[in-house]
Amino acid sequence: MATNAQESADLLYAMRAVMVMLGSGIGLEAAMQMIGRGGYGVISKDFREVIDNLQRGAKLEQEFSRLSTKASSKGYSRFLNTLRTNVTSDTDLVRALTQQSDREEEERNDKLADYIEKLSGMPTILLTFGMLSPIIFGIGAMLPVIAPGAMSLPGMGMLSTVKALFGPVLFITLILMVLVGYKAHSSDPGVI
């Protein structure tokens, strides 16, 4: 089963292509065959399967219902339901698809704006992590070199431990930075 991101990636392109074809008087089946030829990711794969099943005697509305139930993304499911409604009730498909693709475009813009907002603080967070650890532990680690006299003061012996911890602490900092940076991947809306 395709994921939400896989379905959403090419949905708008497929919707617009179907819209253009139907608007020029080309039938739904020819438009589906065109999508099924490839270039629209999982949507092409699904439509190819539908065309194959139609040739085996399946009903178009049932195929759309089956795909709609299987769909992971709301947008794709809505698209398939609109196609199914057109087959069963002969609705104005071009108008419905225009409205739906405008809505999809708006949703994409919102998702992208959300992604941009989520990542806006990342450069500063990474720099803060990247700078603080070496400063705090680096100065501690260097103190025996910078001010050897200070080492004779009571309680300063622990600084030698700080020096030994310098490498592991920087390694942990790197792991924290990876976790912060992973947000750039995990929150990607999947829109091109």
Binding site: G25, G27, A30, G38, Y40, L126, L127, I192
Partner: protein
């Protein structure tokens, strides 16, 4: 010559730096084709709405699709014009459909391949090509704008990450350690550099991956890792040594 020896000496401060410096130039050369290819592909895609609009106008004036494309290929001096001329030239020996398919393949753009696919279906179905190309022109113009939004919005952020993590961080750390360390000139710094340089190189690599992911081009960004890691480590150690030598 002395400068070169000093440079070698700088590199010798970290084994990681010694290993990654020879990789920096070949990887930089590896990054260039991807960068140029992407620019070429986007140029072709950006020209698509205009080309479709011209086809629609020519068809409206009574020309056929082949004549319309010939006309466009004559007038356009850019990459689209070149590819179309090639396709038209080829169509004299093969068929027009085969030439169109070749144009789509040579463009290496999925957007153009979709358009050609749509055009072929419209021709098969005897649909009004003028109307089809006009609608496609409007739609692809909107889709192009949508594609550009991410690029435009994220470029600044990804550039900022690179600048902060690959230049500012090593610069500040090199400066700070050198200034703090002045009081103890002649002391052994190998331990600190031995940890700091791999750390700075790893954080530069991480920043390159994150900035590439932000733009949706992680694989392409991987080629830049050795370059930025080298710059980061060299900036740190170079600044440190320059301040230590200058103020000693």
């Amino acid at each position: 010559m002395q400068l070169l020896w000093n440079f070698y000496e700088l590199l010798g401060q970290s084994l990681f730096l010694v290993l990654i410096v020879p990789l920096a130039l070949p990887c930089l050369a590896g990054a260039m084709p991807g960068f140029l290819e992407r620019r070429r592909r986007r140029q072709l895609e950006e020209a698509l709405p205009e080309v479709l609009e011209s086809i629609s106008t020519s068809i409206g004036a009574g020309l056929g699709l082949q004549q319309a494309l010939t006309e466009i290929s004559r007038h356009r001096q850019d990459e689209t014009g070149k590819l179309l001329s090639q396709a038209i030239e080829r169509s004299r020996t093969t068929s027009f459909d085969a030439a169109l398919a070749e144009y789509a393949i040579n463009s290496r753009s999925i957007l153009i391949q979709r358009v050609v696919n749509l055009l072929s279906t419209a021709m098969e179905q005897d649909a009004p090509l003028g109307e089809v190309t006009n609608s496609m022109s409007v739609e692809y113009d909107r889709l192009n704008k949508l594609i550009n939004v991410r690029e435009k919005e994220m470029t600044g952020q990804s550039f900022l990450i690179l600048m902060l993590m690959c230049l500012l961080l090593p610069g500040v750390m090199g400066f700070m350690f050198a200034v703090f360390g002045l009081a103890a000139s002649g002391a052994y710094w190998g331990d600190i550099h031995g940890v700091m340089m791999p750390y700075l190189m790893a954080s530069a690599a991480l920043s390159v991956v994150i900035s590439g992911r932000m733009l949706g081009r992680t694989k392409q960004a991987l080629w830049w890792i050795p370059f930025w890691a080298t710059i980061s480590a060299l900036l740190y150690i170079g600044l440190f040594e320059a301040i230590q030598n200058g103020m000693a």
